[in-house]
């Protein structure tokens, strides 16, 4: 039976690609495969549909049949009883009536425009950071924004924030000058020293003088305790996010450092902060810090909270970024070294872009966590939205209203966090370079 001819075979024409059979594609196939692939699955599908119907039948009328126009829960109920004969409907009127408070806290009503302007400026200065299609010139706005924010929200003349900015500029100049001698450590110390001298000793008197002579751009001053609502949550959240990333990067690098002292400080800091609940840090910020500061110094509460929230998240951030660094093959460091790039250039051009890209999911996770944790400031007496919901209930008119406020607050947070999540997924897709 051994026929050598049948073993040797040469294909003369290559076959064309054929479309898959009809039953293998499309919606019907999906439904059949996923919902009705057997009697058990079919029963599950039908039961699930029934449960979903029941839930929606219960909640949709409550959500959409609600009252939007009333001045108290009492009035709400009266309207509902007239309309439906019962009160099984939402009373959204609390949102319309307390809208401004939920957004701005106790910010003076005549000054709302300042908060709105700051918000618009914030979006504008975020744009060039988030999207590289936006003109790079906008980054100047981004750099100026922190100072604009402080001036707009807290008021006063422009000299206070200008002085802070001048401190940074002087520090930068000092860094550049000393950097010529080639020592990174020395130039950092010089920069910090010059900036501190300006902020502590020279700046305040200059500001005092300028305020007396030319109170330029004076806005009504607003105290930190009057900030609240969505506004305070954005201020703390955005500041924390913007600061915790660079600090996290530095901590992650420090943790990998060969210098024993740097490494010990970074590891100690990270492990300490991660081991302590955020709320403890916030109480420290609101109560204890005053004991340690020299008497008479006023250190704004919001600023203290921002510092604590930032420190807290930067410890987590450092660990997330360390994961990204660990995932990079050693060859990347070696190639950078072999090309003659020094440590900082290699970090900035080769290592960090890749490590951060790998860590995007973890970084955004930390951002989202931080943003939601801003609700904890309620416990140290700052009226964020959650704190306000308590305050609103404390008023006789709205005593007993829970769901509507919580649903609203939850929705606001969900929109912000979902936006962050979507952005990060878009960014990850954009940065993918390994497709063939």
């Amino acid at each position: 039976m051994s026929n050598t001819n049948s073993l040797s075979y040469v294909r003369k024409e290559m076959l064309e690609q054929q479309p898959a059979p009809r039953s293998q594609v499309g919606f019907t196939r999906w439904v059949r495969e996923n919902l009705f692939s057997g009697w058990f699955n079919s029963i599950l599908t039908i039961v699930s549909i029934f449960v979903i119907y029941k839930i929606l039948a219960g909640t949709l009328p409550w959500l959409f049949g609600g009252v939007w126009d009333a001045t108290s829960l009492e009035q709400c109920r009266t309207i509902l009883t007239e309309r439906f004969g019962n009160t099984h409907y939402a009373c959204w009127a609390v949102l319309t009536e307390r809208w401004n408070q939920l957004l701005y806290g106790f910010y003076p009503e005549t000054q709302y425009w300042r908060a709105n302007l700051a918000f618009v400026l914030m979006l504008a200065s975020l744009a060039p950071v988030l999207f590289d299609k936006v003109p790079r010139k906008m980054l100047y706005l981004t750099m100026a924004f922190p100072f604009l924010l402080v001036w707009l929200v807290w008021g006063g003349t422009i000299w206070g924030v200008t002085s802070v900015a001048v401190g940074f500029i002087l520090g930068g100049v000092a860094f550049k000058l000393v950097d010529r001698f080639g020592s990174m450590a020395l130039s950092t110390i010089a920069a910090v020293a010059v900036a501190l001298i300006w902020w502590l000793f020279i700046g305040p008197s200059v500001v005092g003088g300028l305020n007396a002579v030319a109170p330029l751009g004076h806005l009504q001053e607003v105290q930190s305790r009057d900030l609240g609502g969505f506004m305070i949550c954005v201020i703390i959240g955005i500041s924390g996010i913007a600061l915790s990333l660079p600090i996290g990067i530095i901590l992650a690098l420090g943790r990998q450092s060969d210098l024993f002292i740097v490494k010990t400080i970074c590891v100690g800091f990270i492990e300490f902060i991660r081991g302590v609940p955020l709320i403890t840090l916030l109480f420290t910020a609101s109560l204890l810090l005053n004991y340690f500061l020299p008497p008479g110094t006023t250190f704004d509460l919001t600023l203290r909270v921002i510092i604590m929230v930032t420190l807290f998240s930067s410890a987590y951030m450092a660990e997330v970024i360390r994961g990204g660094l660990a995932a990079l093959p050693k060859g990347q460091y070696e190639a950078a070294d072999a090309l003659g790039l020094d440590y900082w250039k290699a970090q900035r051009l080769i290592i960090m872009p890749q490590a951060l890209k790998i860590s995007i999911p973890g970084i955004v996770n930390t951002f989202i966590g931080l943003f939601k944790d801003t609700t904890l400031v309620m416990f140290i007496g700052i009226y964020d939205m959650l704190g306000l919901s308590n305050a609103i209930r404390a008023n006789a008119a709205w005593n007993g209203i829970y769901w509507e406020l919580f649903i609203f607050i939850g929705l606001v947070f969900w929109i912000c966090c979902f936006a962050m999540s979507q952005y990060s997924q878009w960014l990850e897709r954009k940065l993918r370079t390994d497709h063939r």
Partner: protein
């Protein structure tokens, strides 16, 4: 194993001058307790093409990585282009910018395009203006025959193409010495030739080269000296003809019989 490199080689520029490019004297290195390099003495003149062979783990990589300080030696002296390698960062930077290196796994930067891979070091280390750096990069990409891939990312290229980009990337720094650490051993057989061809062209232009490789065909045709290492020591060195036809030490004979498959 020995890939036949059938190609006429133009030897007119392959001249060895008596100027010393690299001098290693009594160099020793340890990894902890492990004595990985023992008493290495090696002088490389400008224009020499040296192939380093030896069994796996014999310290070949470690030795050539000491030349640009990817590894630190603990004893002895290494002088590259008249500059001694010490812990002085200035010297290290100077030497690294004159010594190019290609790795087994290419180590291209995956987040940058081919062109950006090539312009990065000239722009940031040599401070070459962007336009000029791009011209240089395109010149060398043409030389390694992949100018049309300049705007792709490394992940979209085949292994052979990636290794040629890695060579071009090193050349953009206009190095006077090139180090190769098994540049073809991560490649599929059909891609080895294109990389070897590029390396031969480089040799034809008179580049000083140190190659760790098991491509014995390449060694026969291009090298003017073959070095055999075992257990952290240089066991034998000779001209390729002598080395292959008339090995002196038993270890060399054993190694050659294994690698040439007789």
């Amino acid at each position: 194993m020995s890939q036949a490199v059938e190609r006429h080689i133009d030897r007119s520029n392959m001249t060895v001058s008596d100027e010393v490019a690299i001098q290693i004297t009594n160099m020793n290195k340890w990894y902890g307790e492990f004595h990985v390099l023992r008493d290495i003495n090696l002088t490389v003149n400008r224009g020499e093409r040296i192939v380093i062979a030896g069994p796996s783990g014999s310290g070949k990589s470690t030795m050539i990585r000491c030349i640009n300080r990817l590894e630190e030696h603990q004893q002895g002296k290494i002088i590259v282009d008249g500059t001694e390698l010490t812990s002085d960062l200035k010297n290290i930077d100077k030497i690294r910018s004159e010594v190019g290196m290609c790795f087994q796994h290419f180590n291209l930067f995956p987040h940058l395009t081919i062109l950006e891979n090539c312009t990065l070091a000239p722009m940031w280390v040599r401070k070459t203006p962007k336009r000029e750096a791009e011209e240089i990069a395109m010149h060398f990409l043409e030389k390694v025959k992949i100018p049309d891939q300049a705007h792709k990312y490394p992940g979209m290229l085949s292994g052979g193409q990636q290794q040629r980009v890695a060579i071009a990337r090193s050349l953009c720094m206009k190095p006077r010495i090139m180090l190769f650490d098994e540049p073809t051993s991560a490649l599929d057989p059909e891609m080895i030739k294109e990389v070897l061809d590029t390396m031969i062209e480089l040799a034809e232009e008179g580049m000083t080269m140190l190659c760790v490789t098991h491509e014995m065909g390449f060694a026969r045709q291009v090298a003017n000296r073959v070095i055999f290492m075992d257990q952290g020591q240089i066991v034998e060195q000779n001209e390729p003809e002598e080395f292959f036809n008339n090995p002196k030490s038993e270890r060399t004979k054993l190694f050659l019989s294994q690698i040439l498959g007789h």
